[in-house]
């Protein structure tokens, strides 16, 4: 069937600059560029271009510019280019439209409508360059009270603490599965987490044995398909996460297509090569909070009560009530993933239309748990498109204990958010497990870039909280007095628990 779609991007090549080195041809995994020997010229197939910028960055003479195709349909605020294109694609294929990364629509990003406070005159700000600043964060259930006793003159803690995880900054790498990415991405994340002192999350595809040595800095995930979940896997991790949902696709499951289940992936997922790896949305042993408690208890039993158990859900309409149930079910950490959360593959229609913004979810969950007097029973991790250290600070002021980042980590490694992860051909070598393409990620370099990112954000966080006169991130948690809203309605302000700027 002839496609009625025109290319999204046009590749422009400055022929005066082009030296026919063919770097662009080798770098583009979508086969956009090709060399015409007869004319000694490099041409481009515009329809293949995803505007990932790989060729642009690697062209030694800066000969390439990618432009949006000016052949736009007649301007229409309702029937946008995207809407028309989607209908045509579906008319041609009869399928679901897939996409990658987080929601790209201008859904209200409340981060931009929340502003932080700083000390002026009446209370001193703290200079993080000279004063000690504490970003260390402990995740896990905290006791209602601490009992001490004196033993031979020294004070000893009598209360038995639930297992705790220590992080050097309130930022963890969120779940990215082996299968959607290669071992090199997992290794980069694992090494960066170990070097910096945070944790990375395996996602639901298991953990390659070669990375077991980073187990102390690994959250092992258990999802409905139970891929790669076996006793050793649970033992090796620092924590176990039950994946109920994901912000990019609340209410639907995961699906790694058979062609991505290579020999290597098959070993870790513990399924035969070439078969689809289906993770349906429901965990079939969980139909209620009581059932969730059962899986939490089974995993605690399996790990002999030495590890915190996380439960991750997508932020949805009644997250606060669900979170209350999760805490009562025994979750040590609850992870909330907002509507802008990323993914390697999700139906576009789900990604862009299901779920709620993470800012509102953090505020309502924190508020609810406080009202019920159970906030200390679990830590909260916020996730879903967190792009900067300011968003980390705002998330913590709203009530989170820490944040998960995944897209930001991938961007640090080279990702340009071109949203074609689901093709498995990521020209940056990230969302692929093709042995040739994935070599583009060098874990020595990628882990360094990740550590740099965490260091940079940590410095910025210290500057921001120092400016508020706070010297420990603990003192910022749920401290909404340090937030003010702009351009928000009374209802939005009420749910966020903040007042209007100037008030």
């Amino acid at each position: 069937m002839k496609s009625y779609l025109s290319p999204e991007y046009i590749v422009e090549r400055d022929q005066d600059r082009c030296i026919r080195c063919e770097v662009c041809i080798n770098q583009c995994t979508y086969e956009t560029h090709y060399y015409d020997e007869e004319d000694d010229i490099v041409h481009s197939r515009n329809e293949n271009c995803t505007n990932c910028q790989r060729c642009v960055v690697f062209c030694p003479t800066q000969a390439i510019t990618i432009r949006k195709n000016p052949n736009y349909y007649r301007e229409n605020a309702n029937w946008t280019q995207e809407a028309i294109t989607a209908v045509k694609k579906q008319a041609e294929t009869g399928g679901i439209i897939l996409t990658g990364m987080g929601c790209d629509k201008p859904h209200l990003t409340y981060w931009d409508r929340l502003l932080l406070n700083a000390s002026q005159v009446t209370n001193p700000s703290i200079d993080p360059l000279r004063e000690p600043m504490e970003l260390r964060t402990y995740l896990g259930a905290k006791p209602d009270r601490l009992e001490m006793e004196t033993e031979e003159g020294s004070i000893v803690l009598k209360t038995k603490l639930a297992p705790q995880l220590s992080l050097e900054a309130p930022i963890l790498f969120s779940a990215i599965s082996y299968g959607s990415t290669s071992i090199r991405v997992h290794e980069s994340l694992a090494r960066a987490a170990s070097e910096f002192g945070t944790l990375f999350n395996t996602g639901e595809g298991g953990l390659d044995r070669r990375l077991y040595k980073y187990g102390g800095r690994t959250i092992v995930q258990v999802a409905s398909g139970r891929f790669g979940v076996h006793p050793e896997y649970l033992d090796i991790g620092a924590a176990v996460e039950i994946k109920i949902g994901q912000g990019a696709k609340p209410g639907i499951g995961g699906h790694l297509p058979g062609e991505k289940v290579s020999e290597e992936i098959s070993k870790t997922r513990m399924i035969p090569t070439g078969t689809d790896a289906l993770s349906p949305a429901p965990q079939h042993d969980i139909y209620s909070i009581e059932d969730l408690r059962q899986l939490i208890c089974a995993l605690k039993e399996a790990t002999n009560y030495t590890k915190p158990v996380f439960v991750k859900i997508a932020a949805v309409h009644n997250s606060a009530a669900i979170a209350s149930g999760m805490v009562r079910a025994g979750a040590d950490v609850i992870a909330l993933d907002g509507v802008r959360g990323g993914t390697g593959a999700a139906p576009r229609i789900i990604r862009d239309n299901v779920g709620i913004p993470i800012e509102l979810a953090i505020a309502s969950v924190d508020q609810r748990l406080r009202e019920e007097g159970i906030r200390n029973n679990a830590s909260i991790i916020a996730a879903g498109g967190i792009k900067s250290s300011a968003e980390v600070v705002k998330a913590i002021a709203l009530g989170a204990d820490a944040v998960y980042i995944a897209t930001a980590a991938l961007v640090a490694m080279g990702c340009t958010v071109c949203q074609k992860c689901y093709t498995g051909k990521c020209p940056w070598g990230i969302a692929t497990n093709d042995p040739w393409i994935s070599k583009r990620i060098n874990p020595d370099i990628a882990s360094k870039r990740l550590v740099n990112l965490l260091r940079g954000w940590s410095l910025e966080i210290k500057e921001m909280i120092g400016g508020m006169g706070i010297n420990a991130i603990e003192s910022l948690r749920g401290n909404r007095l340090h937030l003010r809203g702009v351009g928000l309605t009374d209802t939005e302000l009420r749910i966020l628990g903040v007042t209007m700027a100037g008030d």
């Binding site: 139970r226 078969t275 689809d276 289906l278 079939h284 042993d285 208890c297 089974a298 039993e301 399996a302």
Partner: protein, 258 residues
């Protein structure tokens, strides 16, 4: 765990530990199992089990554990080697994500029995509940086997990705078929052998005839089943079996646009 607490409840003789589990919390019971496992105790007998969950969860090694009474949910979850013999009924989630070992149930078992099991064997004398064998997966040398003496409820073998699931229907009357609906929905690997007719299949399953290899495998499993429960293999096999296999290993391959 404080072993002294159990001094009145535990007797160890000739490498066999006998436990009176009445009123013992599951955590303590499992801690006891872990304590004895690999410490010279080859066999355990646990008496008076009344609903304690997670028995044998994550247990390694090759201990034999006889359970008398009614163990609770998630029996043998994530188990990796031991052999559990249940003299009574099991509840839901028995063998959940089990990796290796054996569970023999002299009675019935509940829903999602064998959920995502990757290895080992489960034999159940009587009926089982809903979604039994869901997500079972085979992998390399591992082929989980689940044999049910009675019949099953709906969604038998749902999302099954590997392994062998046998349903013998020994308690069905002559001419009566299995009443489970949506058998094998989402199945994309593994094999089911059903003695007698299935009334309602999932879309992803097809029924084929048994071949010589199938008969050999079936005989060995039924033999093992009979050795546990005292039935006659030949009598059981002298009946029509249906082999259920997935239509495709990629049931949802054509779901997406480009």
């Amino acid at each position: 765990m404080d072993i002294r607490l159990f001094s009145s409840r535990v007797k160890v003789e000739n490498g066999v530990a006998k436990v009176n589990a009445e009123g013992v919390y599951y955590r303590d019971l499992n801690a006891l199992l872990r304590t004895f496992n690999g410490n010279g105790v080859k066999k355990m007998e646990i008496h008076n089990v009344y609903g304690q969950r997670y028995l044998g969860t994550d247990l390694e090694g090759n201990m034999e554990i006889d359970v008398y009474g009614t163990p609770g949910n998630d029996l043998g979850a994530l188990m990796n080697g031991p052999r559990l013999v249940i003299h009574g009924n099991a509840q839901d989630g028995c063998g959940n994500t089990m990796n290796e070992g054996q569970i023999v149930i002299h009675g019935r078992a509940g829903d999602i029995t064998g959920y995502s099991m990757r290895g080992g064997k489960i034999f159940i004398r009587d009926d089982v509940g809903y979604r039994v064998g869901i997500h079972m997966k085979g992998y390399r040398g591992k082929r989980p086997c689940l044999v049910v003496g009675g019949t099953a409820q709906d969604f038998l073998g749902e999302y099954m990705a590997g392994g062998v699931l046998v349903v013998l229907g020994l308690n069905l009357k002559a001419g009566e078929c299995h009443r489970a609906k949506f058998v094998g929905t989402g199945m994309h690997g593994g094999t089911m052998y059903v003695r007698g007719e299935v009334s309602h299949l999932g879309r992803e399953v097809e029924v084929v005839d048994l071949e010589e290899d199938d008969r050999r495998l079936l005989r060995s499993l039924v033999d093992e089943f009979c050795s546990h429960f005292g039935f006659n293999t030949n009598k059981i096999l002298d009946h029509r079996f249906n082999k259920l296999i997935p239509v495709s290993y990629r049931p949802y391959g054509r779901l997406y646009a480009y």
